[in-house]
């Protein structure tokens, strides 16, 4: 469930195919995940999981795997 939500957030907010959303996908490794896309992604994740992320975590969110780790701090498990 959380995995599906996460994938949907990445796909919708970055405008990419769901199949591209894998743990190794990294920030700035594709043109869609630039700084503008990153802020849209953050807003999407916050809304989907009903959380507010700390600025340090937003800066630190360097990959899909890292995003899962950060969401884990909010008791969201994968």
């Amino acid at each position: 469930m959380n995995q599906d939500t996460l994938v949907a957030c990445f796909a919708e907010n970055l405008g990419i195919e769901s199949a591209m959303v894998v743990d190794s996908l990294a920030y700035q490794s594709i043109s869609e995940w630039d700084s503008v896309g990153h802020m849209a992604l953050v807003a999407g994740l916050e809304e989907a999981f009903d959380i507010m992320l700390d600025t340090d975590d937003i800066i630190d969110m360097s990959s899909v795997a890292k995003a899962k780790e950060i969401l884990g701090k909010h008791d969201i498990t994968f």
Binding site: M39, V42, A43, E46, E47, D50, I51, M52, T55
Partner: protein, 245 residues
């Protein structure tokens, strides 16, 4: 109704300029999330809710507490579904000549008047997605021109203007507008706490020969949060009865 359908967060809303802003915005049809340290803000929300078709909510807390700021924005998302406006009004003033003011007091003013404003803005921007969202930062004539006897306060308010201009440039491509209002001498509890002699000098320096009202300031914030000002950003506008022309 100039704000019908708009969802706006107002800080420092329990009294003075913030309270006048909340009352005016509610009259103009906005849905509101009100913030203040005093729990009076919850009673105000209840009162305004009775007279408004839109939802008026409140959450009391200290805006310089990062965790509270986060909860406030989460409550805005939950209760309002997002934000179309933010009025960063919360602020404190502690008087003191530069040689007499304690650093703790300086730090406190910077923390509330500047750091807390930036922190809340960071969170709030993530809820501003559609239309022509507006951020209004309440600075002061003290920040635009300086006033003797409150130099640390002046410094904190001047910093708000720098933040306003920079942020306006940064978020303009996203359609978010950022402006500052600079009240002159306004009849609030904050002004009344100053020395009598100092207070009288300030009143006499107003060219329109009257002290301003909180509503005078709220009216400008109304314009800046409404769609009447969709091409206005990065500005600092005085509301001072001609104190500085």
């Amino acid at each position: 109704m100039l704000l019908k359908g708009k969802r706006i967060l107002v800080t420092g809303a329990s009294r003075g300029i913030g309270e006048a802003t909340a009352r005016l915005f509610a009259e103009q049809g906005a849905s509101l999330m009100l913030s203040a340290r005093s729990e009076n803000v919850e009673a105000l929300a209840e009162e305004l809710n009775g007279a408004s078709e839109a939802g008026i909510y409140a959450l009391a807390g200290d805006i310089s507490d990062e965790d509270y700021a986060k909860r406030l924005v989460m409550a805005s998302r939950k209760q309002l579904g997002g934000l179309d406006g933010l009025v960063n009004n919360a602020g404190i003033l502690e008087q003191g000549l530069v040689g007499m003011i304690q650093l703790e007091s300086v730090r406190r003013m910077l923390e509330v008047n500047l750091v807390a404003m930036i922190n809340l803005t960071q969170f709030s921007l993530r809820l501003m997605k559609e239309g022509s969202p507006a951020i209004v930062n309440v600075t002061s004539i003290a920040g635009t021109h300086g006033i003797e006897g409150i130099s640390a306060y002046c410094a904190s308010k001047a910093a708000v203007i720098g933040f306003t201009k920079s942020l306006a440039k940064e978020v303009a491509p996203s359609g978010v507008r950022v402006n500052a209002v600079a009240p002159g001498f306004i009849d609030t509890q904050m002004a009344r706490q100053l020395d009598d002699e100092w207070f009288q000098e300030r009143v006499e320096s107003v060219r329109m020969k009257r002290i301003g009202t909180p509503l005078d300031v709220a009216n400008l914030s109304l314009y800046l949060c409404s769609d009447l000002s969709t091409y206005v950003t990065g500005q600092t506008i005085g509301v001072d009865g001609g104190m500085q022309v």
